[in-house]
């Protein structure tokens, strides 16, 4: 009996020792071999036809299958990828003619993955299909601004001239709305029924989906995974070291983390874990993963409804800004990795003023907040809440999306801190569908609305903070100026910036708008969200990028295991 007990104790001790040993060796190895990468994603792409793809997950995969004409790197810098150069005013490849413009492009020679050449006809086909009212593409912003596309050396050539109906500041960022797609594959579906072009197997079935990128789609198990394989020696991207990339779709972000910890994933891109989980993963990493926190373009803020007589007064808005300790909030909630913002443009935007020059900041200062409120005519009432001359309480409603834990925490901090200066806040949250479908876009929030805008490097303030962008019944609730901000100077600068083709002048105009915004604060800037990602340390070249069109896969052909 004693001998058996000894053996079982030994076995138990061995199991316990093994179970507490770190799993570094197993979990840090590539999940599926040194020429493969397995990525985790919480979303599944809806479609891989760029004309109809709506989800960020699709864009992330599409950049491996198709060559973008113009691309941005992880520092937000534009570079020509599928074209020989970026048209510019100096060498005459970008010509202005009154209000109209012409841009001359040269496409780099390359083929579709079935061996047929990419030609001007492919660009013209996609542009014409997009113009067709029956085709269910969602965005036709650039298409409506372009008058025509000409193949200057024939349909099979690669020289393309794009004529624009109007001046557009960002005309050299995309040649056309959706670039080139294989006409020889798509045209028969288009001719058969243009309104069902989005039901064609192109973009869905790996046998039919061909691209001109470094990889081709080889397998898509709906709801589970997707695999792309390198096409070989690509004329633009060369021969990628990573031959196969597999995305595994794991909707539950806790499971996504567990998959990363188990070593089943090599990396999780920016469409994956939440900020909190990234912080937790960083603590648990123990050298097994590198967790990336990169400045992003998602701007969290609170819109002031400027139809509200109390909030119309800029002193009240400034008092609210002074009364909230935003610096402490980002330190406590985000370990300082999502910095406080001071204006509508994110600091990495080219229009953001250098060294915050001219930006009005509102540091935490309750005394200043009280003084501003007193100046605006508010005096303390018997319950500690301020009252105006008519005896009305300074009580405001704060709305946001229900169930968003971070926003709900921020709401509570704001409620408590504003109470300290005599402002009573009532919280009323709505499900996202109701909030964005009925409340914000129809300006039904009575006072304060917290949410985020997703910016891109070409975002400006036209329609967001110009008076013609205030949604109302007569304009069909179009425009994103939800605060209802009206300022002639802002209107002039925003409109000029959106039409200014000279980048330096445009950035100057945007700087002015950012400065003016910080003085007037039609919305209270809170913080800029960071893009988070994680990868095994051996995977070189991977970093967190989320730029509405550019994701971490922008340089996938350069990834390599070390």
């Amino acid at each position: 009996m004693r001998a058996r007990w000894r053996w079982s104790s030994l076995l138990l001790a061995m199991l316990l020792t093994l179970s507490v040993l770190p799993l570094q060796n197993v979990a840090a190895q590539p999940a599926a071999g040194r020429d493969q990468v397995v990525l985790g994603m919480s979303q599944e792409p809806d479609f891989l036809n760029p004309m109809f793809a709506e989800m960020a997950a699709s864009v992330s995969v599409i950049s491996t299958l198709f060559t973008a004409d113009v691309q941005r790197d992880n520092t937000w810098k534009l570079f020509p990828q599928g074209v020989a150069y970026l048209p510019n005013l100096k060498d005459g490849t970008w010509k202005l003619d009154g209000d109209k413009m012409t841009l001359v492009w040269k496409v780099k020679p390359r083929t579709w993955s079935d061996g047929k050449a990419v030609t001007c006809a492919d660009y013209v086909f996609v542009h014409n299909a997009t113009r067709n009212e029956q085709v269910p593409v969602i965005v036709r912003d650039l298409t409506n601004r372009i008058s025509n596309i000409l193949c200057t050396k024939g349909a099979s050539g690669t020289d393309i001239t794009v004529n624009w109906k109007e001046r557009y500041a960002y005309a050299n960022v995309n040649m056309t709305e959706y670039g080139a797609l294989p006409r020889h594959v798509l045209e028969r579906f288009y001719r058969a029924n243009p309104s069902k072009l989005n039901e064609a197997p192109f973009g869905n079935d790996p046998k039919v989906t061909i691209g001109d990128g470094a990889y081709k789609l080889v397998e898509w198990r709906k709801g589970a995974s997707m695999t792309v394989e390198a096409v070989g020696n690509h004329p633009i991207f060369g021969a990628p070291k990573v031959k196969r990339i597999t995305w595994r779709f794991i909707p539950d972000t806790n499971s996504l983390v567990a998959n990363m910890l188990s070593g089943a994933l090599d990396a999780i891109g920016t469409i994956g874990i939440t900020f909190d989980q990234a912080l937790q993963l960083e603590r648990q990493a123990g050298g097994r993963f590198k967790v990336f926190f990169e400045p992003g373009l998602i701007w969290e803020h609170i819109d002031f409804n400027l139809d509200n007589p109390v909030l119309k007064d800029v002193r009240v808005r400034r008092a609210i800004a002074h009364a909230i300790n935003r610096e402490q909030m980002v330190q406590q909630l985000f370990a300082g990795k999502q910095p406080v913002s001071h204006t509508y443009l994110p600091p990495l935007h080219p229009g953001y003023p250098k060294n915050d020059q001219g930006i009005t900041k509102y540091p935490f200062d309750q005394a200043r907040a009280r003084a501003l409120l007193q100046e605006a005519g508010f005096t303390p009432g018997p319950d500690g809440v301020l009252r105006n001359a008519q005896g009305q309480r300074l009580a405001l409603e704060l709305n946001t999306t229900a169930g968003n834990r971070v926003r709900e925490q921020v709401e509570q901090i704001i409620q408590q801190q504003l109470r300290e200066v005599g402002i009573a806040i009532t919280i009323q949250n709505y499900p996202a569908r109701v909030y964005f479908g009925e409340i914000t876009n129809r300006r039904k929030f009575p006072a304060l609305a917290m949410y985020a805008w997703v910016f891109s490097p070409i975002s400006d303030c036209d329609q967001s903070y110009t008076s013609d962008g205030i949604p109302n019944e007569s304009n069909g609730w179009a425009g994103q100026n939800y605060p209802g901000y009206k300022n002639a100077e802002m209107d002039r600068a925003c409109k000029a910036a959106s039409r200014e083709v000279d980048e330096a002048k445009r950035n100057q105009l945007l700087t002015q708008t950012a400065q003016l915004f910080s003085q007037e604060i039609p919305a209270l800037p809170l913080y800029v969200r960071a893009s988070v990602a994680a990868a095994k340390p051996g995977l070189q070249g991977f970093t967190a990028v989320q730029l509405s069109g550019t994701y971490e896969t922008w340089n996938v052909h350069r990834w390599v295991w070390q």
Partner: protein
């Protein structure tokens, strides 16, 4: 009996129509039309684009016209085209039902295989150690939230467990989620691979029904073994095994069969939470994802399919009841 079945089948038609009206109205009248929301999410989308898309998708028509058109198509077997998955809903559902059945049927049999013997033993040995153990286990089974148990199982069997430090034994590690290893197709390797992926979600899913079935079997068996006819059987001098198997068990199984028959429709419905935690592409996840993405075409198809299944299996349960219990007769 035939007349009864025919009458019930006829009754199903107005019930199914009522459900379809209710479901269609609820989904359609929910705030935030999916096309309207595009304006809010992408400033490049103009009101003209929204009007154009609504025209293309028929969303500019009044709700009753849309319902009649949808019903006409559905009756002909055309469930529509999913805007999220960019595929005919029929294709998506066939795939997803297949995946869900792999999981739910395994979990179902796993649950029955454990629950029935445990429930019977527990009843026959009331207040024994195993009875207390089984009762405690069922208590945990019905109380533990599935999402938490799922994550714990992933941590225990895929992230943290002793085998992971021995590379040669790493094949013992269970996959933390997904349905199969990408690239593995056809034949025995495919089924073995699928089996490894199925193990954790099946156990998690089985736990809840295991607990429920154990409780039903135990209480039903306890009730039956105190009946006069069981005492009579014993007094006739029959062997204890015969008394239990032929006289007690058969009668004790009647309520369990009803529960089991009613849960068969649930097998097709998948298990939204387990499927989400284990990234299993089943019907449950399809329904949740479609509703969240505002893909009402897919959501309507899944909901209608599940409603019809519930109606059909309710009828099956009633018929099964009559077959098992001679006291029940339908006219």
């Amino acid at each position: 009996m035939q007349r009864y079945i025919f009458r019930r089948l006829l009754q199903m038609i107005p019930i199914a129509l009522g459900i379809s009206v209710l479901m269609f109205s609820l989904l359609t009248l929910a705030p935030g039309d999916p096309v309207d929301l595009l304006i809010a999410s992408d400033p490049r989308v103009k009101p003209q684009d929204v009007a154009r898309l609504k025209r293309i998708y028929g969303l500019d028509q009044p709700i009753h016209i849309r319902y009649v058109k949808w019903l006409g198509r559905t009756v002909q077997g055309d469930l529509g085209f999913s805007r999220t998955y960019k595929e005919p809903v029929t294709h998506i559902m066939m795939d997803r039902i297949g995946n869900s059945l792999w999981l739910t049927v395994t979990a179902f049999f796993l649950a029955l295989l454990v629950a029935m013997p445990v429930g019977i033993y527990s009843a026959l040995h009331q207040y024994s150690f195993l009875d207390y153990f089984a009762t405690t286990f069922t208590f945990f089974g019905v109380s533990i939230p599935v999402f938490w148990f799922g994550i714990m199982m992933i941590y225990l069997f895929a992230v943290w467990h002793p085998w992971t430090v021995i590379p040669a034994a790493s094949w013992l590690m269970l996959p933390p989620g997904g349905i199969s290893t990408p690239g593995v197709t056809g034949g025995l390797p495919f089924y073995l691979d699928r089996l490894r992926y199925m193990l954790l979600p099946s156990i998690v899913l089985a736990l809840l029904s295991m607990a429920t079935y154990t409780r039903y079997t135990r209480s039903s068996m306890l009730e039956v073994i105190r009946q006069d006819y069981v005492r009579t059987a014993r007094s006739k001098g029959l062997a204890e095994r015969t008394v239990i198997n032929r006289h007690a068990l058969r009668n004790a199984l009647i309520p369990l069969v009803t529960i089991v028959a009613l849960s068969i429709s649930g097998l097709f419905a998948g298990a939204p939470i387990t499927e989400t935690v284990f990234a299993w592409p089943g019907v449950g996840r399809l329904l949740v994802d479609s509703v969240l993405a505002g893909d009402y075409v897919a959501a309507q198809a899944v909901l209608m399919f599940l409603a019809v299944l519930v109606l059909v299996f309710n009828l099956v349960a009633d018929i099964g009841y009559a077959l098992l219990d001679p006291r029940i007769r339908y006219d």
